[in-house]
């Protein structure tokens, strides 16, 4: 990956292709999710929580496969889900922000296979101004970064209220050997129901409730994931 601030000096000749397959998701068995994506994502993927290897901090993810390196939603013919997780769909755009006081700088991953000088939409117009679609994508990335912070707050509430519980999924895809997925955490429905009214009310007021239920309901997608893994 080569991250460069998007500039009309360096990148005026570059074009970006459509990304029907979510190329970034190839061989990834999960996609990081922000809390605003939970409802839409819950129709396709189990939404669970894992710990970041380096920091031990929780993050929310959509499970895309049941073993490392396997993504059942990825296909060269096009993405097999309805919802496209932003962690991959925003690629190759990202923002860089030194600290809270400076403006975020829109960057691109220069090594992305979606970027070339031949195919797709140009980043810059004939006046060498960033095209409208680029500005829009930039806004989406900034909003995604903001959502990441909201998601951290959401996870903090889940931890403070002790609503997460470790979950080991033992799965048996047809024609394959049994696999266990460790290190997953899911919302504990019993603990949610046992919350006192004040805490429960605060979840409702902060808008966390819908995300919590989306995650709970999304667990029904595990079976579909196992079925898809059997075919693969």
């Amino acid at each position: 990956m080569t991250i460069e601030a998007l500039s009309n000096k360096l990148h005026s000749a570059l074009k970006l292709q459509q990304d029907p397959c979510l190329i970034q998701s190839k061989n990834r068995h999960f996609a990081p999710l922000v809390v605003g994506e939970f409802v839409a994502a819950s129709q396709d993927f189990p939404i669970v929580f894992i710990k970041e290897q380096e920091t031990g901090q929780f993050k929310s993810i959509a499970l895309l496969g049941i073993e490392p390196g396997s993504n059942v939603f990825y296909s060269d013919e096009g993405w097999q889900g309805n919802y496209r997780p932003q962690a991959y769909s925003l690629s190759p755009f990202m923002v860089s922000q030194q600290d809270n006081n400076t403006d975020a700088i829109l960057c691109i991953d220069n090594k992305s296979p979606l970027i070339s000088t031949e195919h797709g939409r140009a980043f810059f117009d004939e006046k060498n101004q960033a095209c409208d679609w680029v500005s829009k994508r930039g806004e989406q990335v900034v909003s995604y970064v903001e959502q990441t912070q909201v998601t951290q707050q959401f996870i903090k509430v889940l931890l403070d209220f002790e609503l997460l519980a470790p979950q080991t999924l033992t799965l048996k895809p047809t024609g394959k050997s049994e696999t266990s997925l460790n290190g997953l955490y899911a919302i504990d429905e019993k603990k949610l129901n046992a919350l006192d009214s004040n805490k429960f009310d605060s979840l409702r007021q902060s808008g966390a409730l819908v995300a919590i239920y989306a995650s709970l309901i999304s667990m029904q997608r595990i079976e579909a994931l196992v079925r898809a893994s059997s075919k693969a």
């Binding site: 710990k51 970041e52 920091t55 031990g56 901090q57 931890l159 470790p166």
Partner: protein
């Protein structure tokens, strides 16, 4: 108040012993709740704590978890680093250039020796001919050599990839326990000097007089006044039994050493380096090292001891001041007398070679909580049980420490004196005589409250090069294949965990920023 129930516990003395006891009792008895047993701690605002006990055993994880303290908070406040062994350097023999002379006493063994004991196979040369005993039975020595941590950021609080304990700043630790005890557990705190101890007609402590308050009455008193031993010693007259005829060290000179820079490795084990008249501890905390030379003043002048410590530390010792601590090695003839229990230095003190001080406080507290007597009639029974059990544990600890000296082949006068017959407890020499021809067995340790497990003895014996002849009854060692498979497995796991684990310093830095999760 002879017939009254035990409702008021008064602890005299702060420090690690006092606050650990206060917090443990208050938590267990739910003292914050109305009508429950009340715990009061009287602490002198003028007396500083000794504050050099900086190593714990893995038991501390359970103790802290039970108290409801977050491991992240504990590690941040007390400058904690993680400890997974003691490394003994130059203990085997007087160092010679070019000859490696160290061994590990580890916390984790691959097999529980009760399930499968690899030691005889190693001893008979059937596995790990080129490897040390520790390397043959555990991955942890290799981890220590590379200063790696025993856990990952993804491990939850109090859980590790390997078994571990702590190195901590004792002063901060007492503060943390104090805040928790007062604010969360309902311990009452009185800041005052105890001026007198009032006894009743039966010789039980009725109250302690203070210089600021009225007398503080209680039903059970805990003496945590350290070497002063105000209650069980001065007031109740329980005699002190010196053990300077067995353990010969009587002084420590200590120095706190800053790290050179933020990149210097933080050891994930305690390093104990033998010297001409004792040994030096080296404990790497998150923010500094704590070092100290424990020595015999009969075998070394104080000046020479300080010089040896400075030589050990090297140029970093320049400008640092040394502090001398006289050590009264021994124990009270009783730890529990009438309605008074001694915990910490007031009960006993032995050299900190195996970091037993804080462990024995935990052990004392656990027993006190579990057997807590209803009234004075019940105290008489408990007193005996408690004294027998803790005396057993102290004696075993003394023997275990003595074993390190006995097995050494160092040749300086201090070391020769340590091996003279008159200094050797028969409880130790009997066991060693048996082990000359037999493997160490679980049946050698038939008390459930043995402070040191079988594995600890094996690490010291084989690390020290104890000569053992296991040619008798060779038919019993029929699991050679299993031993060899285990050996191979341990070697391959060693490589894996070396890849996986962060360094102790990396982990400690990350804890400052992120902390561990509770689940």
């Amino acid at each position: 108040m002879t017939n009254n129930q035990t409702k008021q516990v008064v602890i005299v003395g702060g420090g690690t012993a006092g606050w650990l006891t206060a917090a443990s009792l208050a938590k267990r008895f739910n003292s914050a709740g109305q009508g429950n047993i009340q715990v009061t701690l009287v602490e002198s605002p003028d007396i500083p704590t000794i504050g050099v006990g900086e190593g714990t055993w893995p038991t501390m994880r359970k103790t802290l978890a039970n108290l409801g303290i977050s491991e992240t908070d504990f590690m941040r406040q007390c400058h904690v680093s993680l400890k997974q062994a003691t490394k003994f350097v130059n203990w085997k023999e007087t160092p010679k250039p070019g000859i490696d002379n160290h061994y590990y006493h580890l916390f984790t063994s691959f097999h529980d020796a009760a399930d499968f004991n690899m030691a005889p196979y190693w001893q008979r040369g059937e596995v790990g001919q080129a490897a040390t005993f520790a390397q043959s039975v555990s991955v942890q020595g290799a981890i220590c050599e590379k200063h790696l941590a025993p856990k990952l950021m993804t491990n939850k609080e109090y859980e590790g990839v390997q078994n571990y304990a702590y190195h901590l700043d004792a002063g901060e630790f007492a503060k943390l326990l104090k805040d928790h005890a007062i604010n969360n557990l309902g311990v009452l705190h009185v800041s005052a000097n105890v001026t007198d101890v009032n006894l009743d007609d039966d010789g039980y402590i009725e109250a302690v007089e203070t210089d600021t308050d009225n007398a503080i009455h209680g039903d059970l008193f805990v003496d945590c006044t350290g070497f002063k031993c105000l209650l069980i010693g001065d007031a109740l007259g329980v005699a002190f039994k010196s053990i300077d005829d067995t353990l010969l060290t009587d002084y420590a000179v200590v120095m706190q050493v800053p790290y050179k820079d933020d990149n210097q490795a933080i050891a994930s084990c305690t390093i104990s380096t033998a010297q001409e008249a004792g040994w030096i501890w080296d404990i790497g905390l998150a923010n500094r090292r704590g070092t100290g030379y424990v020595y015999s003043s009969k075998h070394s002048s104080h000046e020479r001891a300080e010089q040896k410590l400075r030589e050990y530390i090297g140029e970093q010792s320049e400008g640092l001041t040394a502090r001398f601590i006289p050590m009264n090695i021994g124990y009270r003839e009783k730890f529990w007398h009438k309605n008074c229990v001694a915990v910490g230095l007031s009960a006993a003190f032995i050299e900190p070679l195996e970091a037993s001080a804080i462990f024995l406080m935990e052990a004392a507290n656990n027993m006190l909580m579990e057997l807590f007597p209803r009234d004075r009639a019940a105290m008489v029974m408990v007193e005996k049980k408690y004294n027998d059990s803790l005396m057993f544990r102290w004696n075993k600890t003394i023997d275990f420490i003595k074993m390190h000296y006995l097995l050494s082949r160092r040749s300086e006068p201090f070391w020769l004196d340590n091996r003279t017959k008159t200094t050797l407890p028969s409880s130790l020499t009997d066991l060693l005589a048996r082990w000359e021809h037999h493997p160490v067995s679980g049946y050698d340790f038939d008390n459930v409250y043995e402070p040191f497990p079988l594995e600890s003895y094996q690490y010291i014996l084989y690390g020290m090069g104890f000569e053992q002849d296991l040619s008798f009854n060779p038919g019993q060692y029929s699991k050679r294949d299993q031993a060899q498979q285990s050996f191979k497995k341990i070697q391959s796991i060693t490589k894996q965990v070396e890849q996986q684990l962060p360094t102790n310093r990396q982990l400690l830095t990350k804890i400052q920023q992120f902390g561990f999760q509770k689940l």
